[in-house]
Amino acid sequence: MTGQLSRRGFLGGAAGALSLPFLSSCMSGAQSSGDSDLRVFMFLTGSDWTAFKGAAKAYQKDHRDHDMVLSHLGGGATVYLDKLRTQLAGGSAPDIFHDWGGELAAPFIRSKLVAPLDKYYEQYGWENILLSDAVQMCSMRGKRYGVPVALRGLGIVYRKDIFGEHGLGEATSYEELEDICETLHSAGIVPMAVGGSHAWHPMRLVQFLLEHTAGPSLHDDLLALRTSWKRPEVEECFALFKRWVDKGWLPNGFMGTTYDSALLQWFQGKAAMFPDSPTLEGDVRKQGIDAGVFVFPTDAKPPRFMSYVEQLMLPVTSAQHDVAAQFIDWYVRPQTQQKYYASGTATIKGIPEDESAWPLTYEWQKIKKSHESYLILDQAFDKELANSYFAIQAELANGSTTPKQAAADMQKAVESAAS
């Protein structure tokens, strides 16, 4: 050992260092999963994820030919879709992936990254067991690209303890809801907790208000961009949203806080209502909170609630379509759903409702029978238009635009997106 670096040694070392990343990537690729593995990627978290893992484990017991490799990522659509997109476009797609409906899944379908499932719908007769509304929300251009596994309705989840303390009951009209907000605000409680740093949470409130001011038919036309947004009903909706902000019915500085902060505020009893789905039930139970749920009262006829779908999809590149479809078929069967679906927002016909286990969900199932539904805005709009809407919503919240101008700007954004 001379301590001197030889030319050959230097070049060999450099070549080795250079080839190391390539070798390691090849090796890690080979080790990540076997060819016969069934890789599943979900955005479920909390009790829903635990329940899904339980279902997969039970399925494995009877189906040992394929190892199920489960992974999940929380954090909402932004984070999850980033990773999913990389997997799909980067050639390492899972065999089954979870996605939302509408425009959140549409880019993948339009890019031909998702396999149509009509063949399996016929083979397994899924039309007979799945709710037709939910299946419709998983279809595009006449083909069924996903199997709906949740049809989530969004309402107002409220704290019964706070409502009881102030002698309040569930609102049945918009006027009553405003009275409730006023009472709570006077008592120093934030009426409605929302976190707007990613904008989609306060969007729910604005859309409730749009249903109230525009009514079902016009609301649907606005979402489908069949009519102009520059109209009095939209201006009225935006004015009402501003009223909620100015009256202090939303948390101070909510546009800079996250959904999680808002939820924490509600868990801590600093806020009384939270616009969300009864799927929150698992966490509500864990926190020991006595909660109830009601539909945001819009006074609209017919009465409707906001909803969105979650689906299981298969990437075109997977070689495991048959195996994946077999698992999905097992998973969406009523007996499986009844046993393993945590928050009971399943899309299966005829699941018995268990009031004692899932009271919020039970309540919501009753609501679903008497209400129609409408699609949530960020699944109705493509992401760029949704972002333009979010910017207008933020300007409204901070008072840098007027409701009239906001409606005009929204129409301008729609026209710009169309061009």
Binding site: A199, N252, M255, Q265, K270, A394
Partner: protein, 318 residues
Amino acid sequence: MSTPLLNTPAETVEKRVGHAPGTGRRRPRAFRHLRGYMFLVPCLIAYGGFLIWPLLNSLYLSFTDWNGLTPRMNFVGLANYVRFFLYDEVARTALLNNLIWTVATVAVPTAIGLLLAVALNERIRGRLFFRSVFYAPGVLPLVGVALIWSWLYSPDFGLVNEFLRTIGLHDFARPWLGDPNTALFAVVVAGIWVRTGLPMLLYLAGLQAIPRDRYEAARVDGAGPWHIFRHVTMPGLRETHVVVISLTLVDALKVFDLIYAMTYGGPGNATQVPATWMYFNTFQFYKAGYGSAIAIIIAVLSIAVAIPYIMILRKRAS
């Protein structure tokens, strides 16, 4: 005694291969340098593969309407660049925000870093401790920094508003990240906090290199602290200024992480900068062609701003 193979004088090499200058057959000029180039090959491959090729690829993509998902793309010429400079209102906001960010996060951390370095270069008690404390934010992951500052700015229970309320400045308490008038500046403060450590460290290294006898001579000549700082310290740090300014400048021009994690470009698009807008277009709106054009614009801006400045400073320093 063996002859070292590396760092061998050219004359020795000529003797070893048996061709004394002017006495025998000489190799062609290009071939004589081949060995030297061979040493560069690994680095050139890495540089070409990981920097030049992606850059050229991005440049090509910027002339297309690629959506980032499929292999299909159409050539659209300069349309993406025209859109950025003429029609995209958010792009204008992003450029202005980046200018504000750059000025603030270059000037302030550099000035504070210099002052701290001068102070901590003196023989004071606990100077190692203070050096570590002031440098510590620089080693934290930026997402962690974003989380810390987001909590500090929390409208209801954040330390900033609590402090303002405690000292009676209730009217100054506000939703720092939720108000478009304050959001960018709130993130800038976090940016300054995290970026002060590196200039301090570099200036400390620069100060160590200034010969002590210059200070002694200045004192003997009756110079006060300000004159010593102006006429001894500052000229002695010319090389360090080049390093500090160039590093912070390039860092500021490509800012992404803090803004992404603290405001997500909001509220609305109030805190967008070109890098976050590039991310939104490429990964959220599936407009990878346009996103690539923004990436190229960021690269060109960084080069256009940083290189002349560095060259001027280098010239002065030499």
